[in-house]
């Protein structure tokens, strides 16, 4: 079946794949390693056909393990089930799964040329010579590396190597493309360039893709949906906008870049921070685990009071005139970033706060400043014992 699917002329490759990718479902999957480590807690995950799903999280959170389960390089514990479309692949080995893989280390065969690398899968599948050459040529052209066909791998730059790796992975028209931190080894500028290329490639092919990264920006740029992982569990699944604007937990907020944190209180439907009082209705994203709605019996919650964690990015707090100020701080450091200057400010919370100002704004280290919150840009988590669970139930 495999071989017949391969036997179409290469020029049609791109067109046929546009019709939609394979839907992937993981049901009740867990993963325990032989030494007893629980790498993945029970989870369900569905990846729609043609969707690009990003697995985001710090190292050791289990994102790569999920990728390896889908690849067939690891198998889930008994009871888990993985399907590609209608096909149950739970115990199918990677050789049979028809997945394309791209690695951080490129993993190109050093004893083969660029063209031989791309042709390797076709050769293994015994695709006939003429057809094979045609397909390889089409792949190299698509990745804009046709002039490198006869080069050896050690003669290529990092960006070129990753293009070869992509061409090799999609040459076999896999059911799913799995990318494991493919851009991490590249420098910042090239990373952004190749990210854009990968994005348009995935849209063009319409292939189902799963992309692992620890880089929040990369995840936002590429993902149709993002899965944020924490310690072997899924912390949140959502579109980039949802993850960014409405994180479900302090961990997610912190991980996607809301690095300023302040301690506050919630009193009578308002956020209280020293002398500052802001109505919760004005707060951009408040996860207070509303005690009345959830019928929480916790005495602290019943009175509508409790501690709160406040998270915000550099745009959550702005400098203002002294008479309009809600809070005062002292400038500790200034970094000029071109289109803006980023200030490090002490005296507002326990740790320093960063906020952005116009680069032409006259300010010096040691200056006292008055600031105002931008409630729209604040994320507030009521610190009830089960605030997260309550929030997910909503």
């Amino acid at each position: 079946m495999n071989a017949t699917a391969m036997a179409q002329p290469g020029s049609q490759t791109v067109q046929t794949e546009k019709t939609g990718g394979t839907r992937i479902e993981l049901a009740r999957c867990t993963k325990t390693f032989p030494d007893g480590t629980r790498a993945l807690l029970p989870f369900d995950l569905t990846i729609n056909g043609g969707e690009t799903l990003v697995l985001l999280g710090p190292s050791g959170c289990g994102k790569t393990t999920i990728l390896r389960l889908i690849a067939g390089l690891e198998f889930p514990d008994a009871g888990g089930k993985i399907t590609f479309g209608e096909d149950d692949v739970t115990r199918q080995s990677i050789e049979k799964r028809r997945v394309g893989m791209v690695f951080q280390s490129y993993a190109l065969f050093p004893n083969m040329t660029v063209a031989e690398n791309v042709a390797y899968g076709l050769k293994v599948q015994k695709v006939e010579r003429r057809e094979r050459d045609e397909r390889v040529r089409a792949m190299l052209e698509m990745m804009h590396i046709d002039m490198l066909a006869d080069r050896r791998i050690d003669q290529l730059s990092g960006g070129q190597r990753q293009r070869v790796a992509l061409a090799r992975a999609i040459a076999l028209r896999p059911r799913v493309l799995l990318l494991d931190e493919p851009l991490t080894a590249l420098d910042a500028k090239l990373r952004v360039k190749l990210r854009t290329e990968i994005n348009s490639l995935l849209r063009k092919l319409g292939i189902t893709a799963i992309y692992v990264t620890h880089d929040q920006e990369e995840a936002m740029a590429l993902g149709d949906r993002i899965v944020v992982m924490q310690k072997g569990a899924i912390a949140q699944i959502g579109t980039p906008r949802e993850i960014y604007r409405a994180p479900l937990s302090p961990f997610v907020a912190d991980f996607v870049g809301a690095s300023n944190r302040l301690d506050g209180r919630i009193e009578q439907n308002s956020l209280v921070l020293g002398d500052v009082k802001i109505s919760l209705d004005q707060i951009g994203h408040a996860m207070t685990g509303d005690p009345i709605k959830n019928g929480d019996s916790n005495s602290n919650s019943r009175s509508g009071q409790g501690l709160a964690d406040i998270y915000f990015r550099a745009d959550g707090l702005a400098i203002c005139a002294p008479d309009q100020g809600q809070i005062r701080g002292r400038v500790e450091a200034i970094s000029y970033l071109g289109e803006k200057s980023r200030l490090t400010v002490s005296g507002i919370g326990e740790s320093v706060i960063t906020l952005d100002v116009d680069p032409d704004f006259q300010i010096a280290i040691g200056d006292d400043i008055h600031c105002r919150f931008n409630p729209e840009r604040l994320t507030v988590f009521g610190r009830y014992p089960d605030a997260r669970n309550a929030a997910q139930a909503m």
């Binding site: 065969f109 050093p110 004893n111 791998i153 190597r161 992975a169």
Partner: protein
């Protein structure tokens, strides 16, 4: 302003230091000769001069320079050469296969007692050939363990210490540590994701071994195989301890030299042994070396 001054102040000394370093790196001819002298002296004293003396010794024999051909014309010597070559090649191939598998396994797996096992496998490094020969006798000699067991089981003493099998085992035992260490060094550098990439493209295990693992291990296999082969060609201690009916070339040289006082022939055979070993190694390097070279440099 202040920053600029600081920057200049820093860059100037490092500039001159840079030149200082480069000047001493390009040593003057006198310094160069002085530094080379010990190396040249050692090579001359322990290699070149003895080699020339041995090579010259051949001319003093009854047949003069023609003695060099004796290894090809004399049936006994020629047979000994062929035997030695076959034995060495056999030991090398078996050692490479065994150690390739074991070395790869040891690198890819972590288990209790792993370091003890590696220690045991590399232990023969510290034994001289004579001791290895003695061990083989204890294992498979007339009073050996194998003979004792087989006698108890099937009423027949199996003894193979004194024939080609005994020598083979001795040489193999001797070669294993070097090859295993070299394979492990190559295997450490082999990216496991290369194998995963090949498998994701549908390659069955045997193709992964042929297309990915073997090319990756090739540099280590070639260098350790060469050492293994050369050592086996010249191994004397083991053969001497075991020798009854085997005529490996080093034994022949020893016999000609000490018992028959046939110094010219011994010298000719010595040079021939060296040249043939060197030729074999060069041939292997020529045949597979280029590919291996690409593999080492290409490792990302």
């Amino acid at each position: 302003m202040a920053l600029q001054n600081l920057g200049e102040g820093r860059s100037r000394p490092s500039f001159s230091r840079y030149f200082g370093v480069s000047r001493s790196a390009m040593a003057s001819p006198a310094t160069f000769m002085a530094l080379m002298a010990p190396g040249v002296a050692i090579v001359a004293a322990f290699f070149l001069i003895p080699l020339v003396l041995v090579a010259m010794e051949v001319a003093n024999g009854p047949d003069g320079w023609a003695t060099y051909l004796v290894i090809l014309t004399n049936a006994r010597y020629f047979e000994s050469l062929v035997q030695t070559l076959l034995m060495s090649a056999g030991v090398t191939v078996v050692a490479l296969i065994l150690c390739g598998i074991v070395g790869m396994f040891l690198v890819r797996n972590r288990f209790a007692g792993r370091s003890v096992l590696i220690g045991l496998l590399t232990l023969p490094l510290s034994f001289p050939g004579t001791v290895v020969g003695f061990m083989v006798i204890m294992l498979a000699g007339r009073q050996g363990a194998v003979g004792g067991i087989s006698n108890a089981l099937i009423g027949e003493k199996i003894v193979f210490a004194y024939d080609i099998a005994g020598l083979f085992i001795g040489y193999l035992y001797f070669s294993i540590p070097r090859v295993i260490l070299a394979v492990m060094a190559s295997a450490e550098k082999l990216d496991p994701q290369l194998e995963e990439a090949a498998r994701s493209l549908g390659a069955p295990r045997w193709r992964v071994v042929r297309d990915v693992i073997l090319p990756g291990l090739m540099p280590g296999l070639i260098s350790s195989g060469a050492i293994c082969f050369a050592t086996a060609m010249g191994a004397f201690g083991t053969a001497f301890t075991l020798a009854t009916d085997i005529d490996v070339l080093p034994m022949v040289i020893y016999t000609e030299f000490t018992r028959n006082a046939n110094i010219a022939v011994a010298a000719a055979l010595s040079i021939a042994l060296g040249v043939i070993t060197w030729l074999c190694l060069s041939a292997v390097r020529f045949l597979v070396g280029e590919k291996a070279d690409v593999t080492t440099r290409g490792g990302a």
